[in-house]
């Protein structure tokens, strides 16, 4: 499976993502934001970080960068586009995903392990995933997902809520919600479920010496579903 990771000025999880993709067998390429086009890919990843310093609004300047048109075209033609953290913020700014990411409820940056519940498996990311609850890692200041009532209803009706924050046992409530996101939402899909944006970082959980290994399941599953 061929993947491309886009590097924006200020991206800082690009290397980590590249390392993770390669580790599980993706043929990965790094792509500079100023390039006109993206090499032939089966998956495009917008990595975490602070693209353009997060100035103006997180992800907003990146959503107007040169490469983004190719990303949007790729998504509209059904290609898999994954945005992690700042990548998720960029995807909402491009309009590929609904809603916005506001500052965390308690106004602090949070770096911590979290549990997330997989809400939908009828898609190329989570189909046949052996676990329903994953332990991943978050590190963000603006991860508080919000959308209008209409948008929320449509997300729910179409099963576009991908993952939600929960406790180790799956409980979803205020105490298992680290940032105040509406309905504990940690990640969502677009209509066709080929575009996924989520705040947690699977690439930081890929071996047992790190915070955990559930990130490995995530990447392996995408590969398995591609075969």
């Amino acid at each position: 499976m061929r993947s491309s990771v886009i590097i924006f000025p200020g991206s800082n999880c690009d290397r980590d993502m590249g390392v993770a993709l390669k580790k599980f067998g993706f043929k990965n390429q790094m792509v500079w934001h100023n390039d006109q086009s993206i090499p032939k890919s089966d998956l495009i990843v917008l990595p975490g970080g602070f693209s353009y310093g997060d100035y103006l609004r997180c992800g907003s300047i990146a959503s107007k960068s040169k490469i983004i048109k190719s990303v949007i075209d790729f998504a509209n033609s059904g290609g898999l586009v994954l945005g992690i953290c700042n990548g998720f913020q960029i995807l909402t700014e491009t309009g590929l995903l609904k809603g916005i990411l506001q500052q965390n409820k308690f106004l602090n940056f949070i770096c911590s392990n979290v549990f997330i519940k997989v809400k939908d498996k009828q898609n190329k990311y989570f189909r046949d995933l052996k676990k329903d609850i994953l332990e991943l890692h978050i590190a963000h200041n603006e991860g508080n997902y919000f959308c209008s009532d209409d948008e929320l209803k449509s997300l729910e009706d179409n099963n576009q809520i991908a993952v939600t924050y929960c406790g180790e046992d799956g409980t979803e409530n205020e105490t298992t919600n680290p940032n105040g996101a509406i309905k504990n939402i940690a990640g969502i899909f677009n209509n066709n479920k080929n575009v996924l944006g989520m705040m947690p970082h699977p690439e930081r959980m890929i071996d047992k010496y790190l915070s955990g290994e559930d990130g490995s399941l995530f990447f392996k599953n995408i590969l398995d579903n591609f075969k």
Binding site: P9, G10, N12, C13, R15, D16, V19, A20, N34, G48, G49, F50, Y52, G53, D54, Y55, N108, F109, I110, C111, S112, H137, A139, N141, H201, E203, R204, I206, Y209, L210, S211
Partner: protein
């Protein structure tokens, strides 16, 4: 403006220093020249009060590639890999403007590291605040933590460990010390020594603005009531630009275009250009009209003194200008050829086609004043005769709970949750352990780092205190299974013009030197921060030690959490029960006098090597050094982290349980031993002739000791974990 003695004094120079300048120059300097002298001759840049004593430090060893004197120190970790590291203070600016002060402190130290060609791989910090009851403490803490996080998180370098303390002596002067470690190929290290004539001098990075003018002089003065007026001397950081600068510099460093490179830190363009020329024994000519400026009509005076952040000065190979410019254009950064190296041995400044300053370099560097300031020895205080009958009314478990929730012992999760500590994907020990650990990317090696200081011990007896912190750092590194390699130090003191403060400095340095020599734990970089004083009230002497250790196989790293029920727990090292200056004496008995615990360097080394041997042979599964709060505090942390209890044995021949459990004797570790390894462990302990106590067994969910203690771990965890959060929310 005419330059007079009064103008010179306004620039922070002493009367005698001004007449020395006039004599050396054989004329009165113009205002720009005076500014350059004031920047180069202030305490912060010239080390005029400390230099004489710093020379005595132990700085050599076969592991040292570069000792003090460069942007940062460099140590060899094998296989062509080297670690570049340094700690630096940003105390004064952080007190005036906590967010920007702390943020630019982090930015500055990272630049020092990547200037040498290294990619930063870990950040640490040591931060010290006034009493929790003081009205400014909460806001200063919040601002500093946000500033550190705001900068480090954005750059994408994990913050892996730190230290936070509270003491009323910091009420008017907080301390913010930031440390960075970088990884470099040892054959591709870049230095600041210029070489070759007529080589282009290049300015890259952010534009120059009017921020931070006089920053270095501000940092060399004490505070008074008017500190609000000093806000404009604090620089404003832009981590995004620094990230671009980091990537652009590393890209340019891939080939041999750079001859020398120096970041513009304290005293900006002045200090960087003078240092590069001075080290290369050359002259330098700068055309200030070519300097990219953020604001209109900036004068040579302002350009030379600006401390705008995220700027570098490079001496390039001739003909490489276009190649270099392309890289900086790609990263959207300013690039300007602003001068050249010359054989004049002078710094010559041109502005609007006119020469505006001309000073021989040696007057600024070698001829800078050096002071042999008078200092006073601190006598070792008398040992306190504690009334042990008085102890009997104290319940061990109440004392323990009080100590665990003490501001200086309690968990600092509220702080490190705000720092990205996992970015770069190699953090294998997070903040909250004895040391942070990151893997050397793509290898089996890992690097451990820790920051430590013990102001109470240093205040009580600076010589012992100086030794103690080096040992503390050594122990923290061994506790995670790493071999201690070298240290960096940040020497935070009061006013050197006072004999007592100067004495504290001299004796702490002596202590640090003695311990680092004995332990083969050399000092490779550092910085001195004097004048931490407000309205005549100085801080307690607070030298901070940043230690770095190496784990050759990261799978052998140790953590402090108890692992398995039934495993045995030993205290390695002898407990005499030294209570003077302990948390127990200060917080429970309210006794603040007495000497700090004695440091026995032979024991430190022997016991440290024993524990390292045990960890290399995989014979112990957890380890934690015993420090502040003594054995019971250390045990509690191991229980809380492992979510497991311990049954403590009735200890034979125990003179006094309070002294045993809360004494702060040095050179001790608590280790967890699987039963199967017991014989081998005992053999090794006997081989090294090391004293040890069989303390107990990992067991259940409580700490139990005879009829004295029966405390559920969950209750202890609550006491330990939430003090800071509650304090910040209140």
């Amino acid at each position: 403006m005419e330059v007079t003695e009064a103008v010179a004094i306004d620039h922070g120079l002493k009367k005698e220093e001004f007449s020395k300048i006039c004599k050396l120059l054989k004329r009165t300097p113009n205002l720009t020249e005076l500014a350059i002298f004031s920047a180069m001759w202030n305490e912060h840049c010239s080390y005029k009060s400390s230099r004489k004593h710093l020379k005595k430090m132990h700085t050599k060893g076969k592991q040292v590639i570069q000792g003090p004197g460069e942007n940062a120190g460099v140590i060899d970790i094998g296989d062509d890999d080297a670690i570049v590291f340094k700690i630096e203070s940003h105390n004064h600016p952080s007190f005036i403007e906590p967010y920007q002060g702390a943020a630019t402190g982090v930015g500055g130290i990272m630049r020092d590291v990547f200037t040498m060609g290294a990619r930063p791989i870990a950040n640490l910090n040591s931060i010290h605040f006034g009493s929790p009851q003081h009205k400014k403490t909460r806001n200063l803490l919040r601002g500093v933590v946000k500033g550190i996080g705001g900068y480090g998180n954005c750059i994408g370098v994990p913050t892996i460990a730190g230290q936070t303390t509270f003491d009323e002596s910091y009420n008017g002067n907080i301390l913010v010390n930031a440390m960075t470690l970088g990884l470099v190929n040892k054959n591709k290290i870049f230095y600041s020594k210029a070489a070759g004539l007529d080589k282009p001098v290049i300015y890259v990075g952010s534009k120059t603005g009017r921020d931070g003018i006089h920053g270095a002089s501000m940092a060399s003065a004490t505070f008074d009531d008017k500190i609000e007026e000093k806000k404009p001397t604090v620089q404003v950081g832009d981590p995004f630009t620094e990230k671009l600068l980091l990537e652009a510099c590393l890209e340019l460093m891939a080939d041999n275009s750079i001859i020398a490179i120096q970041d513009m830190g304290a005293a900006g363009l002045t200090s960087s250009s003078v240092e590069m020329a001075s080290k290369g024994n050359l002259g330098i000519e700068l055309n200030l009209s070519e300097v990219p400026c953020r604001e209109e009509k900036m004068t040579p005076y302002e350009i030379m003194l600006s401390e705008s952040q995220e700027r570098m000065l490079i001496v390039l190979e001739k003909g490489k200008e276009e190649h270099a410019k392309k890289i900086f254009d790609k990263w959207n950064l300013d690039f300007a050829v602003i001068g050249k190296t010359t054989n004049s041995k002078k710094i010559e400044l041109i502005f609007d086609s006119k020469k505006v300053a001309e000073i021989p370099i040696d007057l600024l560097a070698e001829n800078a004043p050096i002071y042999d300031r008078p200092w006073k020895k601190t006598k070792l205080p008398q040992k306190i005769k504690f009334d042990k009958d008085e102890f009997k009314s104290l319940k061990l478990s109440d004392c323990l709970k009080k100590i665990l929730s003490n501001s200086n012992i309690s968990d600092k999760k509220w702080i490190w949750d705000q720092y990205d500590h996992t970015v770069m994907g190699d953090t294998i020990q997070k903040p909250g352990g004895d040391a942070g650990v990151v893997r050397v990317h793509g290898t089996n090696k890992a690097v451990a780092a820790s920051v430590d200081s013990s102001a109470l011990y240093c205040f009580s007896h600076p010589l012992t205190g100086g030794k103690q912190i080096v040992c503390e750092s050594y122990r923290n590194l061994i506790s995670v299974g790493s071999k201690p390699i070298a240290i960096t130090n940040c020497l935070n003191f009061g006013n050197p013009e006072k004999e007592k403060n100067m004495g504290e400095f001299v004796e702490c340095v002596e202590g640090i030197t003695e311990a680092s020599k004995y332990l083969d734990f050399p000092v490779v970089s550092g910085n001195v921060s004097f004048y931490n004083e407000t309205k005549d009230k100085g801080i307690k002497p607070t030298p901070t030690i940043g230690g770095v250790g190496l784990i050759s196989d990261y799978q052998k790293m140790l953590t402090m959490d108890f692992k398995t029920e039934g495993n045995l727990v030993y205290v390695i090292g002898k407990t005499d029960g030294h209570l003077d200056q302990s948390i127990f004496a200060r917080e429970i008995l309210n006794e603040k006098k007495g000497p700090p615990p004695t440091v026995n360097l032979f024991n430190e080394k022997n016991i440290g090597e024993t524990v390292l041997d045990l960890s290399r042979k995989n014979l112990i599964v957890s380890c934690h050094d015993v420090s502040l709060g003594g054995i019971l505090t250390a045990l509690s942390k191991m229980c809380i982290k492992g979510k497991k209890g311990i049954k403590i044995n009735s200890l034979k021949g125990l003179t006094n349980k309070y002294e045993y459990f809360f004494g702060e004797d040095q050179a001790r570790y608590i280790v967890e031993i699987p039963k199967a390894s017991l014989k081998k462990v005992n053999d090794i302990l006997n081989k090294y002739s090391v004293h040890f106590d069989e303390l107990g067994t990992v067991n259940g969910q409580s700490i139990e000791y005879k009829d004295d203690i029966n405390l559920p771990i969950e209750e202890l965890a609550d006491t330990h974990k939430y003090w800071l959060k509650k304090y910040m929310d209140s």
